[in-house]
Symmetry: C2
Subunit: 657 residues, 2 copies
């Protein structure tokens, strides 16, 4: 608690009678910035009150960092001393905001004046008091100088008593009082930060595949050149981000074989996450994939198709990584002179060495790790999917993200952490632009709605941008194992319409290649350990669905934000419905969660959010099935048969009376 | 957000891998201390986690401010990365606490050792690693020096491989590791304060009366000497605090007459809250009540009866107060040379001048206001009921309370603010030891339970100590108007058993003098504006009830804390039940909220809190009605007839099998 001593206290401190508490949105007392993209709003609230019964005024002030001038928005009292105002961020970079409040003596006087005049009291003295306010306020520059000079003259002239009263009671004088900057004994809150990042941080559709799986020739592994030929297919489905597992040289020592066996047969390619061998480490390309020229050509081709290439940032080393010899101090060594590999006793992961962050050479280590990112930025990469960020110190990420924001604000990091919720949250707070989520294991309606509430209805929304993945090379969830089209389609529709960022690991997803390792949530014959060959060219119903929904997402702003999610009630558990809106774009999604049976029931329209009343006709255009409906009730009948229709994606049109 | 630059970052910062978040209890990020009385516990929780899978250790540390040595309690993981520990405060004054956490490499190694040894792996290298930990740990002083020296010798000796393994796997070595202070790269939370105040801050029974109403002679007003004769009656009822409305000279200008009329008749005594006339101000005594000698004699007599006298601290002045002439700068003056009285336009309160806190002479003003408190402390007063604290700046109170805590830590201030909740909360945060509440208007079960939850089930409990008043000279709630014994008795039982501090304004309360001003929540012929005479000597049933319950409160620790309140379910709305426990003292209160009709129903015993199972017999001794019951079910039948029994106050005794 601040020790208040009279000697040290400033006049402004002692006389500030307005109290500002509980400003929101604020993360951990302001330790971390809240996040936005350009065009988004920041809705600021605060508890504001003063002693006594005088009139209180409050403003929200904000500015882009680096600019000098604050902009202001009047705060409006809601209820129970909670005040509110909002501002819109326009550009990427940092903004800051704070709350101001003061006892507004001018308006206190003006309000008293109105009441006393209405009660027919003599107003001479009140006019003289007002004159003093006006004289001081006139010192502030403003557009009303002439009006104020005239009013002052009028108030000084006792012959125009009635006229003076009329002017004081007029709207123009009140407006002048409300806009005047004469603010005595102002209270100012702490200042808080908003980090505005490019739109893609919030809105993106990812497609992951193993570049070595791109070969059309079953006799050889795929290369970057093969990948380039696949890109148009992926762009055709509407994805904007293609993410590759690590593309670096793969370690030979303790190389893993097919299905994660501990000994690889000669010729087995190994896991791309065992990074580094005598041919190089994190700044090298696995020669089997091609060379830097091929890679840069691929990145350029992708760009022309509207696709950004994302690479994997896996800060770990195979025992053959050049770092191990060149920087032994970055690893842990055992008394017998061997290097410490990853382990979860008694299990051993000898093909991967974790970096020992608590080493005395940490400054050089951090700089080197940063230089890896900068190296790939130099090759045209702006998006990194970070492998296991939760096994590296949070403080390191906090530093790296701050460095990146300063020098490359367009770079996006996706946090691959499927771990404990507070750890995932912390990674987002320290700066990861996007995060993997538990969506992968949220299956029934209650689980999904509860999880959406966690993401959208709590302070989490201010820093944690979810990216929904139905599957990854590490996870083939039980729900999707050995199943057909409808199961996968439900998961795809949920991911892509609940979250503005989502991703698929393909082509296994759309090809329904979903045989698991028995009893595990893992793919059998996983691409992590071997080269697979896929039929990239044949179109399945999935390709049409994906293409359609990605197009809907692009054409409807409501899908370009996650946090506008609002659940809608239905009368049964297999029917899930949600409403999303952005500006005039209003979307209602209704989904049958049952992959087998036809389900019917009733869905409640969010009349309040739509600002319509029961009885008013609205038009619902089903963007997925090209039909149009007209509803005029709050509760409406829905029937969804997975044999032909899994979901409605309604765009709502209002008819104005 | 902290800007992290490598150049500025310390090794300790860069290597600290444990994260500490969301420490509780904490008020407004630590801006204000939490409050306790001696013997109370502080239950501290925090989110604690690290990167990776290493073993994490955490400690709660605390100390009395001014002492150098921290004490420590191990924190224990609960669930979802929430950790917990508690400490007890013993003395009044400030304590501080903080949370420590670190990646515990020693225990990480030890845990791995156990698993590897169990898996039959070769342990030579593991023993060498352990040796290094032990050698470093041995540098810390501790009681286990010999054991550790021996263990080190054993581990160095390769001939005793199996013995070494046995010792490493033993409980004694683990205990040594757990207690050792070798903590690398420690993370430490912000440090937070606890303010420990004397027990009376939490546990008190107040009785308010107008000293001028103490006269046994209808022909004259009461004096301090008359009050002295009444004290034994009040002590006999079991009260420990007697509070007097202001005892200072009363202003003559604009003196209020009977029933708040704006003109007083000659001889009318005026409102004691219009403080000050030519005979003095806040440091003087109204000569009609007596002199300082009388007052001090009264305070001493009270002390012998176990009663503390509380006086009213009303920072406001009648127009005749000496301050108005001597310190005109402390008031607001109008252009016509008149002083600004209190007003709520068009209403005028001309008998009271508010102090103008935003004046340039505020330092002298604050010192003078403080000197008033010190003056009365000099006369033996330790408790002040503060009139309308919400009309004086919060920052002034914050300063005054800090000054008082430093110099007179035993002083208690009761905040008389029946205003907006956040304002009442702020006054408690800045230091008021007790607060008036909305209890006065919480009547039915749902209202009462919800309000108790606000007070006891939220962060409010850390700083806001409620004092429940069924009535005050300002408030005769509608519920009590023109009613008989049972209504008032219900309100009394609720106040005195829900809250460890409560108060009555008497003798109107126990004499059932409850005629209102028509249509208002005010007393007719209020003592605020005239001298009333009461029959102080006749005992009513109320005296017995009050005496009994005050005795029960003194004999049962469970009633000496408010925040141990736990609601119990009943099957109907007129039966309210709650459980309170302190140590082995367990109390169940069951109350009929219906003042007229007999009510019956079922009450649920809190089996979990009682730590008994259904079927086990417990004994319930009704402290109010001298009957004993035996229950062995979770749900139990209750019947309460207001004609003879309004409530049970059960003390619960467990039979141990």
């Amino acid at each position: 608690m601040h020790l208040l001593t009279l000697r040290r206290m400033k006049n402004s401190e002692a006389k500030s009678r307005a109290v500002i508490e509980q400003v929101s949105p604020v993360i951990d007392g302001g330790l971390f910035p809240i996040k936005r993209i350009p065009g988004e709003w920041v809705n600021v609230e605060a508890d504001i009150f003063g002693d006594g019964h005088d009139y209180l005024s409050a403003r929200l002030q904000y500015r882009k960092e680096g600019t000098k001038k604050w902009k202001e928005v009047p705060m409006v009292h809601q209820a129970n001393d909670r005040w509110k105002a909002a501002f819109r961020v326009e550009d990427t970079g940092f903004y800051e905001y704070a709350v101001l409040a003061w006892i507004d003596h001018g308006i206190t006087w003006l309000n008293g004046f109105m009441k006393k005049a209405a009660a027919g009291e003599p107003m001479e003295v009140e006019l003289q008091i007002g004159l003093k306010f006006l004289e001081r306020m006139a010192e502030e520059k403003g557009s009303e100088q002439k009006f104020i000079r005239d009013t002052i003259a009028l108030l000084r002239d006792s012959d125009h008593y009635q006229d003076a009263i009329q002017v004081v009671m007029g709207e123009r004088l009140r407006e002048f009082f409300e806009s005047n900057k004469l603010r005595e004994n102002l209270s100012v809150s702490q200042s808080f930060q908003v980090l505005v990042e490019r739109k893609k941080a919030l809105f993106s559709a990812w497609y992951e595949f193993f570049p070595r799986a791109s070969s059309p020739d079953p006799g050889r592994a795929g290369t970057f050149r093969d990948c380039e030929k696949i890109l148009p297919l992926i762009a055709g489905m509407g994805f904007d981000t293609v993410y590759f597992p690590p593309i670096h040289p793969i370690g030979n020592s303790f190389r893993k074989g097919k299905n994660n066996s501990t000994t690889a047969m000669p010729g087995e390619p190994g896991s791309p996450w065992a990074i580094g061998n005598s041919e190089g480490g994190h700044k090298s390309i696995n020669p089997e994939l091609g060379n830097f020229k091929d890679f840069e050509k691929l990145v350029n081709s992708a760009e022309k198709l509207g696709i950004e290439i994302a690479i994997d940032l896996a800060y770990q080393c195979s025992p053959d990584h050049p770092y191990v010899k060149d920087h032994p101090q970055w690893f842990r060594w055992r008394p017998d002179g061997t290097v410490q590999y990853a382990e979860n006793p008694p299990k051993k992961y000898q093909d991967v060495l974790p970096i020992h962050f608590e080493n005395d050479d940490w400054k050089n280590l951090w700089e080197e790790l940063k230089s890896i990112v900068e190296f790939w930025i130099g090759k045209g990469i702006r998006i990194f999917r970070v492998d296991n960020p939760h096994t590296k110190p949070f403080v390191f990420w906090q530093w790296l993200m701050a460095e990146m924001r300063r020098d490359y604000p367009e770079v996006i990091f996706l946090s691959e952490a499927f771990t404990r919720p507070k750890i995932m949250a912390r990674l987002a707070k320290v700066g990861f632009q996007q995060s993997y989520t538990y969506f992968t294991w949220r299956e029934n309606k209650q689980e999904l709605e509860q999880y959406m509430h966690e993401l959208c209805g709590t302070v989490s929304r201010e820093y944690f941008r979810p990216n929904f993945w139905p599957n990854t090379p590490d996870i083939l969830p039980y729900y999707l194992q050995n199943t057909g089209y409808t199961q996968s389609a439900i998961r795809f529709i949920l991911a892509s319409t609940l979250s503005s960022s989502y991703g698929l690991y393909g082509p296994v997803f759309e090809l329904l290649e979903n045989e698991p390792m028995p009893g595990k949530e893992e793919y059998l014959d996983s691409e992590k350990y071997e080269v697979r060959h896929w039929d990239w060219q044949t179109k399945t119903p999935f390709h049409n669905l994906i293409k359609r929904i990605n197009l809907i997402r692009k054409e409807n702003e409501a899908f370009q934000n996650t946090f506008n999610y609002q659940p809608c009630q239905t009368n049964q558990d297999q029917l899930m419905a949600y409403f999303k809106t952005s500006g005039t774009n209003m979307i209602l999604v209704v989904l049958n969660l049952d992959p087998v049976h036809k389900q019917n029931g009733w869905v409640q329209l969010p009349l309040k959010e739509l600002r319509v009343e029961e009885g008013q006709v609205i038009e619902l255009e089903d963007l997925l099935n090209d039909k149009t409906y007209h509803w005029n009730k709050e509760w409406n009948y829905i029937e969804l048969d997975p044999a032909h229709t899994l979901a409605h994606i309604f765009r709502i049109q209002l008819y104005h009376r």
